[in-house]
Symmetry: C2
Subunit: 205 residues, 2 copies
């Protein structure tokens, strides 16, 4: 059924993760975000700390050179020992995301899930964003981030996600045509965004 | 009230105009699309045929040189005689769009209305798109367009709209962050898209 699997891309500080979590609760289905990292790390044998550092980051040769030797041959899944640490993590996450989607209805946040699952016909791909001011507010009040250059931090986080998405999908992160529904959470709020996505699920032809 | 004025940008063949029309009917408010052209033409003294040719087209020096002499001093509004025909039409449409928005709730299709009205706090900016196959189907069945190169025709129409929007706004047409809500009408259909926009209107914080 279309809408069985909901993928949510999001700008940093847009509340995309909260929206995804609330939506999954409302629909009574699974939710995957950081959990993906932990699962991927367990499967690969790469430490969760290293995994988190390169999660959603496009190729970084310094980090790569630091860890590739250490973890080159530890994967318990397909043998990715010839790949960079980033590509390796992308491949492992790809396998896990496909496996999770096969297991049943769920909401998956970020990590190019829309692209990884593009062959499926039961997706609803959503993108969540908001203006920078509202995201700064959220980063401070909700995430407790304290930084003098918080705007720069937010824009850098977006740049990282954008590079990761564009690099692995060959498409443009946040371009409306890559998603079925795009929402400004600054205008609709967390609850409103959840309601609109639920409505959209009921409107799929 | 936010959502008083709804602007709808749309890919060619996405059904954006039908969605706008149905939405306006459901909300009992005014709807402006081609009407804008007629009104603009009347105000300017430029013939509706010329107006339609340059409507939503970025600067075209050949057309400009053909008509600028003929219509250079006929505007009954602000004196735009020093501008190219395209810029002149954009300026006239800007005035008309602002006037219409001041008159009361309405739905305005295309013509950079989201940008022209950006100072207002009562906007809901929507973008409608769909995959090319579905747009070809719509162009043939709904608009009765008969062309061997219909795909090329559609992509050219989009390119024209995109150039116009990017040229006059300095932003990227169809980038989700320029709108409050973006919808794939191929997934939700005309009626579904109208319902989602109505829901979104009720969810504005």
């Amino acid at each position: 059924m279309p809408g069985n699997i909901i993928t949510i891309g999001r700008q940093f500080g847009s509340g995309g993760r909260s929206i995804a979590k609330h939506l999954a609760e409302r629909l009574g289905i699974k939710y995957y975000d950081k959990e993906l990292i932990t699962m991927s790390a367990k499967e690969s044998g790469i430490s969760p700390e290293i995994f988190e550092k390169v999660d959603e980051a496009a190729a970084n040769s310094l980090l790569y050179s630091m860890v590739i030797g250490m973890y080159g041959a530890t994967s318990r899944m397909t043998d990715y020992s010839e790949l960079s640490i980033n590509d390796k993590i992308f491949k492992i996450q790809t396998e896990i995301i496909k496996k999770l989607a096969d297991e049943g209805p769920c909401v998956i946040v970020g990590r190019c899930a829309d692209y990884i699952l593009r062959e499926r016909t039961d997706l609803l791909n959503v993108f969540i964003y908001s203006d920078t001011e509202k995201r700064i507010e959220r980063a401070v009040n909700e995430y407790g981030i304290q930084s003098k250059n918080i705007k720069e931090f937010i824009l850098k986080s977006d740049k990282k996600r954008s590079n990761y998405y564009n690099f692995y999908t060959g498409k443009r992160w946040g371009a409306s045509c890559n998603y079925h529904l795009c929402l400004d959470s600054g205008v609709f709020g967390i609850d409103g965004s959840v309601e609109i996505i639920e409505k959209a699920l009921n409107c799929i032809k």
